[in-house]
Point group: C2
Chain length 360, copies 2
């Protein structure tokens, strides 16, 4: 029997991954030049498909890196000369904050207790801050920042860049692209791909600020930085030899998603999330970690377990269902259940059936 992965990344692969990878090999995409027309066509198709899927308007560009974590470093290095602000609602947003300090910036934060979100209207952001970094969906805690909260930041702080890490939620959140400057994610979550590619969506304001910083003598990291990505991206190329196979694969999976319809994917995601949270509410064994409904992630459900989590995970593994362990110190007391597009309603129902049958 095939295993089904409910892990929050790396995650269940999109059902068409193998077909597209074989086609890529068949087209020699592991061998072609990254400075030729064929590669440029792949780059253009993948970015164009992503723009269609996410409703990204003119004026935004899309670039590729090795991971989303790399984009944390490159965004801070390229777009902040002095100071960034971070909404810390779990372990990954905390790392983004720490990257800022390690790069020598003045890093500010608003930090919520684990499992909680923010009352964003009460948070004041210091005037020196250039970049506001939001982790829209915290993969460690299952806490989300509602997109309306993120949009409100732009209303209050129109002079600052609003950066959004949407690693484990996109394409689920519906962004108003006039209220965000930059969105980043990786492909091994909701896009159901093997890990090894980061995706960075930026608007012209973000690029202009990186250019102004450079003009002032600011030095961004030389390997990847926003301006090296922009310069090469203008030719549908990358600064160094890229992971062509995965850029192709992403374009094809996004095309499959467009075929299904992003609205249908989002509806199904909400439907599956409701099934999982309803189960937890009725269960004696599970208790959603995030209490405040508006802050509950629909794509990564984190639940406290009454029994040790390892036993539950082990029991499900015997049924070929792989749940995610709690993150860090929550390893023994929580499970994380991903709810990504590669998982069908039937997959979720099957997983919940198995959970129901566990001895109390």
């Amino acid at each position: 029997m095939e295993k089904i992965f409910f892990t929050p990344g790396p995650a269940q692969l999109y059902p068409t991954v193998q077909k597209h990878l074989l086609e890529a090999l068949n087209q020699n995409l592991g061998s072609i030049s990254h400075r030729g027309k064929q590669f440029q066509g792949i780059f253009a198709e993948t970015t164009s498909n992503l723009k269609s899927l996410l409703g990204i308007p003119e004026g935004f560009n899309i670039y590729f890196t090795g991971s989303a974590t790399e984009i944390w470093e490159k965004s801070l290095s390229s777009c902040a000369g002095k100071s960034s602000f971070h909404f810390v609602n779990g372990s990954f947003s905390k790392k983004y904050f720490e990257f800022s300090k390690d790069l020598g910036l003045t890093a500010h934060k608003a930090e919520a207790p684990m499992g909680e979100g923010f009352d964003i209207s009460k948070i004041e952001i210091p005037s020196e801050v250039e970049m506001i970094c939001c982790t829209q969906n915290e993969t460690s805690t299952g806490v989300q920042m509602p997109v309306a909260d993120i949009h409100s930041l732009k209303d209050r702080y129109s002079d600052k860049l609003v950066f959004v890490d949407a690693v484990s939620s996109i394409p689920h959140p519906v962004f108003d692209w006039s209220k965000v400057d930059s969105v980043l994610f990786s492909v091994q979550k909701a896009f159901g791909m093997p890990a090894g590619l980061g995706v960075w969506i930026v608007n012209q304001k973000t690029i202009d600020i990186a250019k102004a910083l450079k003009a002032q003598g600011h030095k961004a990291t030389p390997y990847h930085n926003l301006l090296s990505l922009v310069e090469n991206g203008a030719k549908n190329e990358t600064p160094a030899t890229p992971n062509t196979l995965y850029i192709y694969l992403l374009g094809k999976i996004v095309a499959d998603m467009l075929g299904k319809g992003v609205e249908n994917i989002r509806k199904e995601t909400s439907q599956k999330a409701n099934l999982i949270y309803d189960f937890c509410a009725k269960s004696e064994m599970f208790d959603p970690f995030v209490k405040h409904l508006a802050h509950r992630s629909e794509t990564v459900v984190v639940a406290n377990t009454k029994a040790p989590a390892a036993g539950i995970i082990e029991s499900l593994k015997k049924e070929n269902i792989v749940l995610g362990a709690g993150y860090g110190t929550y390893k023994d007391s929580q499970v994380r259940i991903a709810n990504f597009p590669a998982l069908s309603v039937e997959n979720v129902e099957l997983m919940l059936e198995k959970l129901k049958k566990l001895p109390a």
Copy 2:
């Protein structure tokens, strides 16, 4: 008819790539956790196989990044507090030198005219230099630094770190591991893989110097740096979610190479290089770019063309043979012919037959 790629990277894939990729998908390696035993086993197997293939002794460790270009940045950021020295023998070594300047270091260089190497005994390295960076095989010009020259640097400058970029030659050069501190490469050259993985081999001295710099308050880039790679590598893990599929694939290709025997691979590489250079010497149409025999790369042959290079490349493409174009300003006047292990003697003979039949 199948295409054969003589391009210097991305290059001809190793014949077993598809088989191993399918096996990886079959084992769900695109979905497994990068913090679990299965991944740790893959990491351990790949690094162990590489150590066997390259004869790497105890005391060296191997780490993975997104590309070799990334390792240029991370090596300088982690291991040089003030100053690096670069042997510039082409466009890629020049970029490594420029990365140093962009990171705010004092970068020194010895620069050879394009197509030429160094009389290394005449080159003095300033005392302030902490890292000596050698590009053992310049993919842009086909110039190699003989390993004996690199080893002599350690004899003369035992206090400095000797770093070797062997991107487009390894596993061909036979290093004396007591005379190099760090070797870096990427997988889309002689290992015949799709691009998207860099490999960094380091000894304890390199790690100790990075630790000493950190203790002095030096801040390396936060995403990947040597010490974050070391800390996670001690658990056979990586700092962020890695390209598990490619780490597995590399391990399997190296196992295939071990099955063939590295000595046999090196012998065959020399045999094929001789065939190509002999052809060039006798041809009216081609002339090796690198005149000095000791500086001629065996793995990337660069030849000046009498006729425009584009026409030659186009003619061969009709025969399903893909040659590399000249790099940068040499695009119209040179071809680059890779000679990697994925290409058999028969492949090389076929390619040369086609070249011989071109109209003069």
